[in-house]
Point group: C2
Chain length 210, copies 2
DNA sequence: GTAGTCATGTAAGAGGTTACATGATTAG
DNA sequence: CTAATCATGTAACCTCTTACATGACTAC
């Protein structure tokens, strides 16, 4: 049940409509927890029913309306409780590592392609996170700044340190993933080299391999 | 839909009952994909209905029976297809990193405890993985050995290389997690130090902090 | 008027968690 | 005979995914 905490974490700084929240989920907290629109709207309603957020209905044009959600005291309390309580590690479940353990069942060129795609994806994510980290460090991150403005000045550096620490964790992970995939490519090369030398030594290999 | 591939990956080497499969999921593939018993039984039935596995009903004692599942040709084909096809990265969704970004909402002692627990958990996992890797390297890993016995000898080293590569990936991740959490503890210390020096400078801090 | 964006939802289904339920068999 | 283990399931519930659906507003 982290979605609601991610949502609370965003609107505690800036009351938003569901629509805006959806967009904020691609660019801020979305780096940490992604959620589709179809999950956000009902969750907001549920949180409202439980008193964690409250909606101010605002007019939009003539007829239309919109609901601007903000966090209640109960919502802030829940957010603090969650930040304080211990949560166990999620179960081990990683489609890529599982597959990697069975790479010997795939043609080696496909393995290479998959590893290259892995590298590209994490390189992309890493750039995003790096940019976010820079923004926070240089005090250009709006959400964080709004939150800071409500906290005592002497705590600002401490808060920023935690935010950066979280992003550094993601970046370190991405680096590890890229490094791992590169090693995988090296393994592919070794295997190719060994197979080539093997089929030179005994020619019937090449026939059975084709 | 990785569960079925994890299951196929185990019983391709050794036909097993659902019960045995459940236990194997704590010790071999379980390092890569964990699943509760209540998920495994129905999945086996579904795979049987789809022709990916077949069950041989064997007697157990006098009255009782058991179903021993093995992979069909269609099952092996599906496993190979999955190993070959590209699968997109799962969505970003990590409860611990999300929380870490909001650690400033928790008392610092709780943050320390959570980071210490994080370290302990990954240290534990790392030992498991390391042991598994050693077992594979020293050719003591039963499942892998059975699979090797059906493959040409000159491919054995290649297959083992991939298995070890996958485990090395997990181990590298664990190392990164532990390193990250240690940095987090350092951040906590810095914050404590800064707060202490701050409250020496202005005494009213200490009062408001209690 | 029409295309794009603002705004809010619903519904079906897959996958996973937790808990409950049952009975045969084997070792002591 | 009794406890542990072998063996197989069901059911309720939650979360997330994918797709569909609708309508008002704004800029051109």
């Amino acid at each position: 049940m982290s979605l609601r905490h991610a949502l609370l974490g965003v609107i505690k700084d800036t009351p938003l409509t569901g629509y805006d929240l959806v967009r904020h989920f691609q660019g801020t907290v979305g780096y940490l927890w992604s959620a589709p629109q179809s999950q956000i709207y009902p969750e907001l309603r549920r949180m409202e029913a439980e008193g964690l957020v409250e909606a101010k209905v605002a007019p939009r044009g003539r007829r239309a309306q919109k609901r601007i959600y903000s966090v209640t005291e109960a919502g802030m309390a829940e957010l603090r409780r969650w930040a304080t309580d211990f949560v166990p590690l999620p179960a081990q479940r990683d489609p890529i590592m599982l597959k990697a353990a069975f790479f010997d069942l795939a043609p080696i060129e496909s393995v290479r392609e998959q590893l290259r795609a892995h590298i590209a994806q994490f390189q992309w994510r890493m750039e995003q996170w790096q940019a976010r980290e820079d923004a926070i460090r240089e005090r250009r991150a709006e959400l964080v700044e709004v939150w800071l403005s409500r906290q005592p000045i002497e705590e600002h550096d401490n808060i920023i340190k935690f935010k950066i620490h979280a992003l550094e964790g993601l970046i370190a992970r991405a680096r590890a993933e890229i490094c791992w995939a590169r090693n995988g490519l090296a393994v592919c090369d070794e295997i190719d080299a060994r197979r080539a030398s093997g089929s030179v030594a005994s020619d019937d290999q090449a026939a059975s391999a084709s």
